[in-house]
């Protein structure tokens, strides 16, 4: 299709869809309404299991199976990226040139780095108590490591980042989630059941299996994001077209 026909077809479909969706919006319940039956049940169930952050209870207890799927998507896409961005036969690696980093940038990066790492760990650890959790903390942790690239250079990053190690840790964390799920089954209740004591409300060990699953996710996400970024950095910085020199 030419660009004009394409735009015409899209306008046709888009107008229809817009009419449909706007009409649907006017049938939706009022924004801010009080009708949330599932939400109310979830809050009650979360309090009954001594999990202060309801979102954590939904993600790692009540709807933990969704999180299993979500974690698998992350795992699969990291594996997929590793496969898709592999070094092909007609490519070679070129070591990047050492780069000069402006002193203020370096100081800033090296100052922020430990703070960011600690923040990431804190956010993971308090997942069942305060906003945050494995996903958020994991991403923060992984991106924090990459401040090294900004602050020092690519080779410094590579030294603390053996990608193979992170790949294995990623897979092990994902299997830990699954094994915890199966443990519920073995313990006689059900897959992904919360079979541990629920602990004291509002403490780090509350919520039964929630903190454990949360920790597994935190490790999985952190490692997965490190590997993901490593693959893209590899492509952007190291891999070049042409045979081995």
């Amino acid at each position: 299709m030419t660009r004009r026909t394409r735009l015409f077809v899209a306008a046709l479909g888009g107008t229809g869809l817009a009419v449909l969706l706007v009409a649907a919006c006017f049938c939706l319940p009022r924004f801010g309404g009080a009708q949330h039956p599932y939400g109310d049940r979830v809050v009650r169930a979360s309090l009954a299991r001594h999990t202060a952050n309801t979102i954590a209870s939904v993600n790692f207890d009540q709807r933990a199976f969704d999180t299993l799927g979500e974690m698998s998507i992350l795992f699969a896409s990291v594996l997929g990226t590793v496969v898709l961005l592999r070094q092909t036969r007609d490519e070679h690696r070129a070591a990047p040139e050492p780069e000069q980093v402006a002193v203020p940038v370096r100081r800033f990066a090296l100052l922020v780095l430990p703070v960011a790492v600690v923040t990431g760990l804190y956010v993971i650890a308090h997942g069942q108590l305060s906003p945050g959790g494995g996903f958020q903390g994991g991403v923060v942790l992984a991106t924090a490591l990459h401040l090294l690239y900004l602050g020092v250079d690519y080779r410094a990053l590579e030294r603390i980042r053996p990608v193979g190690f992170y790949e294995i840790a990623d897979a092990l964390a994902a299997s830990a989630y699954l094994v915890l799920g199966l443990a519920g089954l073995v313990a006689g209740t059900a897959f992904l059941a919360n079979f541990l004591p629920y602990g004291t409300f509002n403490t780090l060990s509350s919520g039964g299996t929630v903190p454990l699953l949360n920790a597994a996710i935190g490790m999985e996400v952190a490692c997965a994001v490190v590997v993901l970024l490593a693959r893209f950095l590899d492509q952007a910085v190291e891999i070049e077209k042409g045979g081995e020199k």
């Binding site: 801010g32 979102i55 991403v139 993901l228 893209f232």
Partner: protein
């Protein structure tokens, strides 16, 4: 709907989403997407969803734009080399 903060955040989201589409250069789009991610995080905070806001901040305004920037760098690199050869 009485909260003006929500209205402002929503308008900002709509504007930055439109900008993210209208900016045709992918490197600039990455920056606009980072802005969109931040604005969305603000919206989620005022909608009382701190968990989502936090992950949107980490993913939407850091990770995704970073991936796009790295892709742009990779895609543009051979071209730059060719120009240098000439």
């Amino acid at each position: 709907m009485d909260d003006p903060l929500i209205v402002v955040a929503l308008v900002l989201v709509a504007v930055s989403a439109t900008a993210a589409v209208a900016v045709r250069d992918p490197a600039r789009q990455a920056l606009v997407l980072a802005v969109l991610g931040t604005v969305l995080a603000v919206l989620f905070t005022v909608l009382q969803a701190p968990d989502v806001a936090l992950s949107q901040l980490a993913v939407g305004s850091a990770l995704t734009p970073l991936l796009i920037m790295l892709s742009v760098r990779k895609v543009r690199r051979p071209q730059r080399k060719k120009e240098a050869d000439r």
